[in-house]
């Protein structure tokens, strides 16, 4: 089938000239969320005229828990468990820049092996997250099989993460100065087996999901984000790369050992929902490759610099960013010389996608809402922090 809609998309006809509530002119205000199967803990006030979305106003804040304020009351180590709560599906990714920033503030050196372990865990977590995301993308488009398969295959990688860190979801594995514990002896072999199997499984996703003409009809040409808009609106991660911007923190500003590993930055030119869904799938291949390479290259040695119980930071500030699964995740850490941070600011990718989402939803069809919304990689819990 494909998209044969020859007509042009209406660029959001304006609300002017209509009544205050818009009811008389047939404009319906739907509040999608917070109790909506397709929203998460988040509200999207959508004004529809027939099948067209006239205006979409994102309204986050339903799961705000003041992580930034909480950080000011806890010391650098105690912040670790609660900082990964905003994004437990990618708990290594959200902790990574914090750990890097604390290392810079407190001036802690990291052993070489720990850097490799961090990269392996970060990449495994990226796959875990992207599978979770992909499964929900499947069920958003009504594809129940695509919901179940990634959830099952995710288990393979969660098993690896659990073997290394001891917890299945909230690993709390990275600490300033390395990682909590060394990998078990059986880990490299098991990791290779699982990762290679997982790489084969990825092809099945293409068969049933990406090559499915009905899926393509729903996503190709939907919600096109131009390169200029993507940059100016501050999009990150797969959303930015799907619009043709080759921007990956692992390449532009390599942290830990990413500059010693060989991988490619995935970009696509189209900038539509399909590209945004396809980029993570390609990135999973790269992640598996990176993890396998890191397993090969990993040296032996210590994994953690011994640390006092209450490390104090120097006066100053640090701004560290990494490429988490959803995009560029940055921590802005201000220290006043106490064992507790003076101010921690999380610049999370989900929060940065909100204006992009509002921009793309305007003028789209109501049926395109799930495919645009979820292709944004938007996680309400992470955005609210």
């Amino acid at each position: 089938m494909g998209v044969e809609m020859g007509r042009e998309r209406i660029p959001g006809f304006e609300l002017e000239g209509r009544d205050e509530d818009g009811m008389d002119r047939g404009i319906l205000t739907l509040s999608v969320g917070p109790q909506h199967p397709g929203s998460g803990h988040f509200r999207l006030i959508v004004k529809v005229d027939g099948d067209m979305i006239v205006e979409a106003l994102p309204d986050p804040g339903y799961v705000h828990r003041g992580e930034e304020k909480m950080c000011e009351y806890r010391n650098y180590i105690q912040n670790i468990p609660h900082l990964e709560r905003p994004m437990i599906a990618d708990s290594c990714g959200i902790l990574y820049p914090y750990v890097l920033a604390v290392e810079e503030i407190c001036n802690i050196a990291v052993p070489e092996r720990a850097k490799y372990i961090r990269v392996i865990m970060a990449e495994i977590n990226r796959c875990i997250f992207e599978l979770y995301w992909l499964g929900i993308y499947g069920i958003f488009l009504g594809h129940s099989t695509m919901f179940m398969w990634p959830m099952a295959d995710r288990e393979l990688l969660i098993d690896l993460a659990e073997m290394a860190s001891g917890a299945r979801v909230t690993h709390a594995y990275f600490v300033p100065g390395g990682v909590r514990n060394d990998l078990p002896d059986a880990f490299p072999e098991k990791a290779k087996r699982h990762l290679l199997y997982f790489k084969n499984r990825l092809k099945e996703y293409k068969d049933i999901f990406y090559d499915n003409p009905l899926f393509q009809a729903r996503t190709v040409g939907v919600g096109i984000l131009s390169k200029e808009d993507a940059i100016n609106l501050g999009a990150t991660g797969p959303v930015l790369r799907a619009s043709g911007v080759e921007h990956d923190i692992r390449k532009v500003e390599p942290y830990d050992v990413y500059d010693e590993l060989d991988f490619e930055v995935i970009t696509m030119k189209e900038g539509d929902s399909f590209a945004r869904a396809y980029v993570p799938w390609l990135e999973m291949y790269e992640s598996v490759e990176i993890a396998l390479q890191a397993l090969e290259k990993m040296p032996s040695g210590p994994v953690r610099t011994k640390l006092g119980p209450n490390p104090k930071g120097a006066v100053g500030e640090a701004f560290k960013r990494v490429e988490a699964a959803r995009g560029e995740l940055a921590y802005y850490l201000v220290s006043d010389g106490n064992p507790k941070p003076y101010r921690v600011k999380l610049s999370v990718p989900s929060f940065r996608e909100i204006p992009v989402m509002a921009h793309l939803l305007k003028g789209a069809k109501l049926a395109d809402m799930p495919s645009i919304y979820w292709s944004m990689n938007y996680w309400p819990v992470e955005a609210d922090r």
Partner: protein, 421 residues
Amino acid sequence: MATVSEFTFSNFVKSVLWLLFWILMIVSLIVLPIIFIVLFYVPPPVINGVEINPYLLLTMLINPQVGAPLIRPTIESLFFRITVFPGFTFAALFATVLIFAERKTLAKMQLRVGPYHAGREAFWWANSLGGFLQLIADLLKLLGKEIIVPSGADKPIFWAAPAVLIIAAAGLIALIPVAPGWVIADIDVSLLAVFALLGFFPLTVLLASYASNSKYPFIGGLRALYQLISYEIPLILAILPIVILASTLSLTGIVEAQYAYWFILFVPIGAFVFFVTALAELERIPFDLPEAESEIVAGWLTEYSGMAYGLIQLANYIKMYALSALFTTLFLGGWIGPEFLPSIEVFNVQVLSSSEVSSIFWFTIKTFGVALFMIIIRGTNPRVKIDVLLRAGWSKLIALAFINVFIAVALLYVGVVGIGP
């Protein structure tokens, strides 16, 4: 009086027992006297020259052999046909099996187990059913839930919609021939009646959604209306070649016309179009946008809860059975297949002949196969968009259906099929 929040199992059992007590009271004090009075005045029915009176029924309890000659006349009676065999009970049972098959098949496709635990610890025999009791549990759950009618709803329409849907679906099964002579309403223009009954659904859905006084059902109802009416024309056009080839509008006649070759061999395009449109009429997964949960919550079903929702779902599955059966009847030769099963005899009196048993078997197997294919389609496809759907329905499917008509006419004139003019 216990409040809802203090729900305990003992309270539940108590309320069920209390209900049973009242039912028994009402039955013994009111219903039984009425029955006796009616029996006193109404002459008992006569089947096969035997008067069926209470004495005979009691005799049959002791000596079932007396009843054996009466079985065949009974099952040939209209009442039995409507209630039990080709009628409601059979369809409901088929729908139940379909629900279970759907859950198990989808689970297998998705690397899951599916219903598995229900009743496993309570009953030893539940082990062999592999979770089939889950359906009973679901039924009980639906029965035990409060039916919430939203304030401002149009109550009569809101309550009537599930019943109307069941009635329309039941009307469909009345037209489908299961075996030679086994059809409830054998009318000459049964195909047109099928179209008329299919036209009921969009209207009911729209009314139900409008009656809910809520936004999501309203959008869902409109979508259902657009989708159902758009796919009705390809559906009608896809069947036209069958009518041309069989030269009759009666479903029984169409099946009999396929004694040698199934029509799917001549008009595969028509079969494809019919299958797709049947999926759309059923609102099943590639076309379930009236219930698209990620966009409009549950579409026109949003405000329905409890048994009202259950009945709508039952109507949907009965409709699924009816459309699969229609596909079988129109394209797969209905009941036609080799005779190989023995006849069924009770006390040496033949109840169903060998050919009838085989026919029923073939019909059931084919229908189940078609339904299973619908389930597999559900497992592999996402939902489509309404504009794509309407566009495809009106341009591609109608074009295919027209081609299909020309193929049928050409086949006829070339002389491949039919008698030819």
